[in-house]
Symmetry: C2
Subunit: 304 residues, 2 copies
């Protein structure tokens, strides 16, 4: 705690925490007490002024006001300050401590859609015109323990188009579910589909995220990436992103979501009239009851 904390009422934070009533569930009490402690310590350490506090209040209100079913600005602010990436690290640490590491996860981001259609292996997720390079993406989903293929796993993929926009940000140029799709692995654990080599884009800077990034004097750019969510009822799900190795924004991703093992190599593809590039990407999933552990969700359920 900063030296200056001593100048203030030593009981105030304790009083606010002790006001929590007996019916507050234990996990909520713990999380909210720590939240109050950190917010109060922050205010005391920086000697937050009334003007600064009110600027923060207004900023938070603008995040909700610009958000809707297709835009989640508070999610985006979380990403800019590294919070989603940290929450992912915490969850992933729980997994990796139980044994060998499965495929690295990274942040979900605000562009996943629950409505992506199931498509057949070998088909394309490209439904609207674009300026990008078509790639065949293929690989296997593998059991981390047995190294055997996992049949019937779902590979959910979503990516921005060559203009850097997702379908629901760009209804004039893209049909719904352009560059989105779910694929099931076959008996050999294999999936394959046509997609675009991804394109780098800037976060939207017309709202609070732009205000904060300008104040931070930071770049709003993300490296090009493909989002993936790989699930199977017997395995812990993996949410991740993969990045072409030559992207210049790997080193200054505005949402701190790049990890070394998520950087991939798109290679030239020969003799395929449908694609000029080829990407092989294999995924390792940890069984849900990995080495005697029970499902993670029981111990980390949200009470908030």
């Amino acid at each position: 705690m900063a030296m200056s904390s001593n100048r203030f009422d030593p009981d105030f934070t304790k009083n606010v925490i002790e006001a929590i009533g007996p019916a507050c569930p234990p996990r909520s009490r713990f999380v909210l007490s720590k939240m109050i402690e950190h917010i109060h310590d922050f205010a005391r350490e920086v000697e937050l002024t009334a003007d600064e506090w009110m600027a923060g209040v207004k900023f938070i209100n603008t995040c909700g006001q610009i958000s809707d079913a297709k835009r989640n600005e508070t999610h985006r602010i979380s990403d800019i300050i590294g919070l989603e990436s940290l929450v992912d690290e915490i969850a992933n640490k729980h997994l990796s401590e139980t044994g060998e590491a499965p495929t690295s996860s990274t942040i979900l981001g605000p562009f996943w859609s629950p409505n992506a259609p199931f498509r057949e292996n070998g088909s394309s997720i490209i439904e609207s015109p674009h300026q990008g390079q078509v790639s065949l993406m293929h690989g296997r989903v593998i059991d981390l323990d047995t190294k055997k293929p996992i049949a019937n796993a779902v590979v959910d993929i979503w990516e921005a188009s060559s203009n850097g926009k997702y379908d629901f940000q760009d209804p004039e140029n893209q049909v719904d579910n352009n560059l989105r799709g779910k694929f099931r692995t076959n008996d050999n654990g294999e999936y394959h589909f046509y997609c675009l080599k991804p394109t780098a884009y800037s976060l939207p800077t017309d709202g609070p995220a732009g205000v904060l990034l300008r104040l931070f004097d930071r770049s709003p750019w993300r490296p090009a990436h493909i989002h993936l969510m790989i699930t199977h009822e017997g395995y812990k799900p993996v949410i991740t992103q993969i990045y072409p190795k030559e992207d210049p924004h790997l080193v200054d991703d505005s949402v701190f979501a790049v990890k070394p093992d998520l950087v991939v190599d798109f290679k030239p593809r020969k003799d395929d009239p449908k694609a000029e590039l080829d990407l092989e990407y294999n995924v390792f999933l940890a069984p849900k009851a990995h080495k005697g552990e029970t499902s993670q969700t029981t111990s980390t359920q949200a009470n908030l």
Copy 2:
């Protein structure tokens, strides 16, 4: 820092802070770096789950979405977690360390209006029907150093009606600026006007504040209070609230804004057909250039 922090990447928070660019103003860099540190430490200490983080994101979005020109839910959430009261303590500590303490301040709350009309001393701020007790409130505004009266100080007062609602929450029953007014002190530093003995009320619980208070298992009630903002160009302003001594919610104020010296005694008033109660309340203001100090605002300007 909690033991569990060690399990996570020790460089992650440093990397996020060091991404701040050279053009970020020094005060903003300091405040935002501490904010990032505390948010990250909080997440690591409670091992925040993805579900809990997303519940928080949604909660913050709902605060902005329910807020408008007449409702500021993020301000209210700040009050419920004690933040506005703490920010007030920090500012007040700066004042009191420069000499004798002026009248205690407390939180502004979300119901102040910039549009309150100037009224004549001796007039009433009551313009709409009510079930309350009319009181004459009177007193002097006094220089903390010289103990001499301050002429031409502005006493800005606002209070809820006997149904616990402020004018702009209650357009069906109250005209604009009912129970609001600004008064100037005379040459003897005196003000006097008719108002209502205040009525306790519950914070609105139909939005995120209600969600949080129910989760906290805490009362949404505030003790009855009158808001005051006392200003004069030569003095540091005081924003405060006063509370009738018999109010049962003095001990569990939902926004942690009660201080012992703000509790007042409404007495019976005789021989005044306009009022059944009498309240004397004197205010002490500290000169702006108090004991060689310059105006506080120069050193605490908001950069955010």
